[in-house]
Every structure is written in structure tokens, then in C-alpha cells.
Symmetry: C2
Subunit: 428 residues, 2 copies
């Protein structure tokens, strides 16, 4: 199917206006013009099932969100140095939902929220050292990006250490399983903390995506997260849960840290919070947040605004009123079960994992090596059949499934038929 002239022209205009190098998805870029629920539509009117986007978590163009956004912008939208109930109420609701935090610092993105979490940890502990995992991504600015460079030699920040991310598929010590494998990864954490302390940086925090999304959603050795939390606390540090991808119902529970069983000290949220309105939050205990405020006098022009608050509340309303967390658990389990049934039918699938509506299908070639080209071919084949997924993971060989939370059982059935078709074409 050739791209229309309009689309080709638009690609040229885009390269001129943004400068060449602003990446587009897929082998043939998608020119989208409309979205509704779990579906997006291209310029030719073709419908795609969106199985990639976590930002429009309540579905594209949800009328409740549109209405809240329009009503608040038509009423008042200012910065937070005037009193306004909106963001206060959102902070109260967020901390009540999280159960482990007391106070909130709002921002405009996950990157800003992660940076504020790191600053909170450093101020609270008086130390600078940060431990992260070695194939992670926590944000795009210079500091956060430099801390957690994906697929490069390691963190640029001299106060950071990256440890091997915990997984069962390719264990750090071949042959180890169960608690022994957990112990091996915990030893790496201890080593990193010791190294930071010996270097003079001290140890401030371990930051981790609760479900290791950018690592490709590995199955985590048993008890790693709660036991890592114990070790972090014993070493005087704080545990930061990056819930930008893991939170807001994605796993079929409200928070990723509940899904993997630990209680963080600082919770970072972002992408889904505002259904496309820039909105992030860093939540922690009163002492940690007030220490941060006293030290930094942090102010963010666009954050904690009545607009962020109204939209943020509408998103939570929809998740609760439409029962989306339960929908994620139900549809996610059914989809995972159906894909597990297919695993034995195609040797290329070495692993099928994930939880809720965040699944990964890891593909290998005939020799058992990670096959990124195959994953990309599958992604493009599914796009041609009207289903949008992507490839991810440390080897880019994991087909990533992460639809809006409104993704239905009927959508899942349609996807499975398309999956079978694409696989049949690959197997010839």
C-alpha cells in the first residue's frame, strides 16, 4: 500500500520544520488524524487497534477528559502561587491511592518527576549516590538521561552505578534459580552501594521501574524487590519506584510496586496521569517532601495548575467509574493465557511474560539468539493488519503490548487472529 502524496509531502515538511532525525515509528510512518477509545484512524480512514500507547490510558479522546479540560481552561488556569483547591484535591487523592506517601510535588513530565525524586533522596540522605539498573530509561533531560543511558557503557553521572537487572531468563550466574538467583542479584546491589560509599558519593537511593518495563518486562527472581528494599533501607538509602509505566492500573493493580510486592519511599508517576496533558508527580513522606521544598524552593510554572488538576481528576474518575483496573486484570490475563497457548506452536517464541495489559513476547532465531529483525518484522506485519505494537527490551527483540486500559476482550480476540496470521506468514 503506497503512502499518499499528502503523507510523503508531510514527511518532507516535518524534516524541514523539526530538522531531520526526529524518529517516526514503523517502516512506513503512520499518518494519524483521529482517535477514539482503543482505536486510532489514519488519513485514509483506516482503523488501527492501539496496543502501544499508555498515555491515553482511558482511551483516546475520552469525552469526560475533554469536558474537564475545556471547562477548567474556560474557568481558570494559573500557576500555583495563588490558592486553588484543584491540585490540592488531586494530591490528596493520589496519596490516598498510593497508600505509602503523604505529600506530592507536581511537575509536567516523568523526567521532571524522576529528577525531583532523585533530588529528594539526595537531600533526605545527605548522600549523592544513585543505583539504577543497567538497561533502564528514566527520562530525557541531561541529568536523568545521563544517569540511565540505555544500551551504552553505563551511567555518565559519576555518582551513579548501574547493576544488572534481575531476571530469570538469562540469569547473571548461569544455572542459578530461585532464591539463590535472587541472592546473586542482591549481592550486585550491595556491591554497588559499597562502591558508592567507598567512592565518597555515599548512598542516596535505588531507583527502579517496578516492573522493569524498559528491560523488557523480565520475570523477576522471587522476592527481589522486597528484599532489595530491605537492603536499601539497611544501607541508609531510599527506594524510588518509577511508576511512570508501571502505575495507574497498568498491571491490573493500581501500582506496580503492589504487583511485585514492595513499599517504596518515593513514588514517581507521569505518562497516563493527564491523558496527554503534560503532568507528572513525585510523592513521598512529609519529611522528604518538606526537606526538598526547603532546600530547592522548587517552582514549576505549569505544574499544580487548575488545568492539570481538573484533567488529572477526570482520568482518575474514569479509571474508577469504568472499572478499568479490573478490566486490565481480566483482559490481560485472558490475552496472556491465549498467547501462552501459542508459545509451543512457534519455536521463535523463547519467552512470554508480563502482567496486566503490559506483555512481552521475546523472539529468537534458529540458533536461540535474540532476533530484533524478526520482532520488527512482526511489529510491521501487525501494523499492516491494523494492530499497533512495538519492539523493545535490551536486545529490541521483545514484541511489546501495552494498549490503553480500555482495551477489550473483543480487541484481544481480534489481535490474536492477526497474530496467528502474521506468524503463519513468517513460518511460510
Amino acid at each position: 500500500m503506497p503512502q499518499s502524496v499528502t503523507t510523503d509531502d508531510l514527511i518532507r515538511r516535518r524534516d524541514r520544520a523539526f530538522g531531520a532525525g526526529a524518529r517516526l515509528f514503523y517502516d512506513r510512518p503512520l499518518h494519524l488524524v483521529r482517535g477514539e477509545g482503543a482505536y486510532v484512524f489514519d488519513v485514509d480512514g483506516r482503523r488501527y487497534v492501539d496496543m502501544y500507547n499508555n498515555v491515553p490510558c482511558v482511551g483516546h479522546a475520552h469525552p469526560r477528559v475533554v469536558e474537564a479540560m475545556a471547562r477548567q481552561q474556560a474557568t481558570l488556569n494559573t500557576h500555583n502561587r495563588y490558592l486553588h483547591e484543584g491540585a490540592i484535591a488531586l494530591a490528596e487523592r493520589l496519596t490516598a491511592l498510593q497508600g505509602v506517601t503523604e505529600c506530592v510535588v507536581f511537575s509536567c513530565s516523568g523526567t521532571e518527576a524522576v529528577e525531583n525524586a532523585l533530588r529528594m533522596a539526595r537531600i533526605a540522605t545527605g548522600a549523592r549516590g544513585i543505583v539504577c539498573t543497567d538497561a533502564t530509561y528514566h527520562g530525557s533531560n541531561a541529568w536523568v538521561g545521563g544517569l540511565t543511558r540505555v544500551g551504552e557503557a553505563g551511567p555518565v553521572d559519576r555518582d551513579a552505578r548501574a547493576i544488572a537487572f534481575p531476571q530469570t531468563l538469562r540469569p547473571i550466574t548461569p544455572g542459578l534459580t530461585g532464591e539463590a538467583l535472587t541472592d546473586a542479584y542482591l549481592d550486585r546491589l550491595d556491591d554497588a552501594i559499597d562502591d558508592l560509599k567507598a567512592s565518597g558519593s555515599g548512598f542516596a537511593a535505588f531507583i527502579v521501574c517496578s516492573i522493569l518495563a524498559n528491560e523488557g518486562l523480565p520475570d523477576i527472581p522471587p522476592g527481589f524487590m522486597p528484599r532489595a528494599t530491605q537492603r536499601v533501607h539497611a544501607a541508609g538509602g531510599l527506594m524510588i519506584a518509577d511508576e511512570v509505566q508501571a502505575g495507574y492500573g497498568r498491571t491490573g493493580q493500581w501500582w506496580g510496586y503492589d504487583a511485585v510486592g514492595f513499599r517504596p519511599d518515593i513514588v514517581v508517576t507521569g505518562k497516563p496521569m493527564g491523558a496527554g496533558l503534560p503532568l507528572g508527580a513525585t510523592a513521598a513522606s512529609r519529611a522528604v517532601v518538606e526537606g526538598f521544598r526547603a532546600e530547592t524552593r522548587y517552582f514549576n510554572t505549569f505544574a499544580s495548575s487548575p488545568l492539570q488538576a481538573a484533567v488529572g481528576m477526570a482520568v482518575l474518575d474514569v479509571i474508577e467509574q469504568e472499572g478499568l483496573v479490573a478490566n486490565v486484570a481480566r483482559v490481560g490475563a485472558a490475552l496472556k493465557g491465549a498467547l501462552l497457548n501459542r508459545r509451543g506452536r512457534w519455536d521463535a517464541i523463547i519467552d512470554l511474560r508480563g502482567v496486566g495489559l503490559f506483555l512481552g513476547i521475546e523472539l529468537v532465531d534458529a540458533t536461540g539468539e535474540p532476533d530484533a529483525a524478526l520482532a520488527f518484522a512482526i511489529v510491521c506485519g501487525l501494523r499492516d493488519k491494523g494492530f499497533l505494537v512495538s519492539n523493545a527490551g535490551i536486545f529490541n527483540n521483545v514484541v511489546k503490548i501495552r494498549p490503553p486500559l480500555v482495551f477489550s476482550m473483543a480487541d484481544a480476540d481480534a489481535f490474536l487472529a492477526a497474530w496467528d496470521g502474521v506468524v503463519a506468514e513468517r513460518r511460510g
Copy 2:
């Protein structure tokens, strides 16, 4: 006038939800519930003329902005790895308006846009050194904030140097005026560049708010900005204009760099762009932007979205269709003239300066020393009369006037009457 119980309760809830230390404006905080044009309304229905806020540049709750925001959110709002015309068209329009740039990298705030500008300059020059002025503010994150700490010892970044900001009121060498004074400030710039080069950092850029807003809008010695640009270029660096406050018609021209007569290499915009929707932009030549994209692979989840584009275009539409740049020039000149007439009537006014709808009234005590307490008293007195301004500048003794661009001649007349009243009360 005592605060209502509701307001006191809300302050307590706010301290609990945000943690104590999130600053509120004024001696008695304003509890706002509605805005319209240049006016905001508190919970008791009292109207205030907004003479502070530059974010709602086209006026609070402008129906054209509300309509564009709602329509786009109801149609499609995704990230920028799908093709969509919106942000492309906004980039084309922005660079055409700027006249000195070719390509745009959108972001969600002035802070992000400044950071991207600094990274562009470093990548383009291969050097790390940044020169800024010594009482500036370019953003809130760790790197940008550390580069430009206001009122502290100087930049935290070892690759940064701060120079005395150029001014005629308190010249760096007492007694110097005119071109000789300009030369004295340019020598400081040369010294800073030389020092960076000697240190091994090299010289990447001079970043400056075109109208030195945070320094208190000083009258700049003649020709400083264009001559500084020449020296920066001769030293192999780039000139970054921070137009977050200076741009978008604020001076009665589209851009602050036009008002002060220089042509920057990189233009940073923010606050007014989205009328309260988080939106920032960094614009430069194709070579500079493409170098940045190639090196950083920058991606920002919420930036370049159809929503940012629709709102950004609506703001530009309103500015053009309502003739707001001309309104700023006309009302700003009249207001400045009227205030200049009042200068001789009150010894506390040592200086009255600014351009367009961005004016500063600098106040001193009987001995001629900066009087921050007097400025704050004036600010609170004006609030009690229904006019919202603030105090700013390196000594916090400058009454800052910076209303939405829709501020009218009638608003200006009403303000002058209130001003006279407050001054009469102070003089007894």
C-alpha cells in the same frame, strides 16, 4: 478584610498535601476561582486586574484557546512518532515569525527549552563553557537551575561563568556612561570567555534574557547586545536568546531581541506559548538542530503533540487577529509615560524603566538604598485595591508590571488611580 474560613482551611489542606514550603503570593494569599481577559476573581467574587501573569498572554479563559484545546483533545492527542500536521505547522509559523531560525524542537517548559538550547550549543561548538548574567534565572531543573542561581554566589556548574548584567543605573565602573560603559561590560564578557577557554571548558554560548527581565529590566548600555553578539561569534560561540519572558509581543514587538537589536543563533520560548498548556520551544538553524537530534535522539512524550500544536496555533491566531502586539506598544507607552510623569512627585522612585507591557518601578529609601520592604508594601497595597503586581529585581525593590497582552488603556487608567492612592497612603 479577614480571610474566609474556607480560605484558611484550604491553606492548611495545601500545606498537608504539598508539604509546607510551597510559597504563596502576597501577605494574605489570593484564593482565585475564575479568570476572564485581564481579570481574575477570588472566592468572594472580588475582581482583580491581573498585571502579573504572562502565561495567559491572550487573557484568561480566551474562548478561542478553549475551543482549540477541546476540539483537538476530542479528535487526537498522541506523541510525535506518528505523522501529524499540527506541530509541523506550528514550527513553520514560529520560525517564520522569528526570522532568524529554521527548525524547532518542542518541549513542555522554558526550563526544558533552555536545557535543549544549552545542549545544542555544546554539540554545535564541541565546547562546554556557558556564560550567563549574574542575577538571572533560566529554569528550575538541577542543571539549568545550577547554572543560573539567582542571588547566590554564582553558578554551580564548573563550565559556567556569570558576568555582571549590563545596566546604566548602577554602572559597574562608577561614573562611566555611554559607549565607555558598554565597553566595560563587554570586557567582562571577554574575560569570562577567556577564562572558560583557559580552563579547558572552551566556549559554547552566551545565554541571556533579551530584556534582562529577572535582573529587573535595567536600561542596557547602548549597543551592548549587538556588540556582545559580535564578540560571542568572534570567539566561536553561539548567542542564545531566552525569550520566555521577552518574546511573544511582550515588548510591543514580537521578540525581545528585536527590541534590543541583536540576532540570536538559538531562540528559547515558553510561558505564553500555550496559554497555560505546558509548551516550550527551542529554535535554531538546521545545522544546529540536526546536530542536536543526531547526538541526543531527543524525544519528549508530551511535546510536539497535536494538543500543543492546536493550542499554540490558537494563541498565535489571537495575538494576530486581536492586534495584541500593537496593543502592547500603545498601552505600554501610555502607561510608561504616565508613570514617568509621576516619578518626580515621589522621591522613593529612583528609576522607571521597561518597554511594552513589562515595566519596572525601582524604589529606594530616604538614604537612596534599595527598599524591598517598601516595594512589597506597595505590592500588597495595590492588591488590596484590586491590582495584582509583584516585586522583583536583584534587590527585590522593583515593582514589576507584566499584565496579559490584552491589558487595556482603561485598565491602565484604573491602575494609575490606584497607584496614586497607594502612594498617597505611604506618603501620609
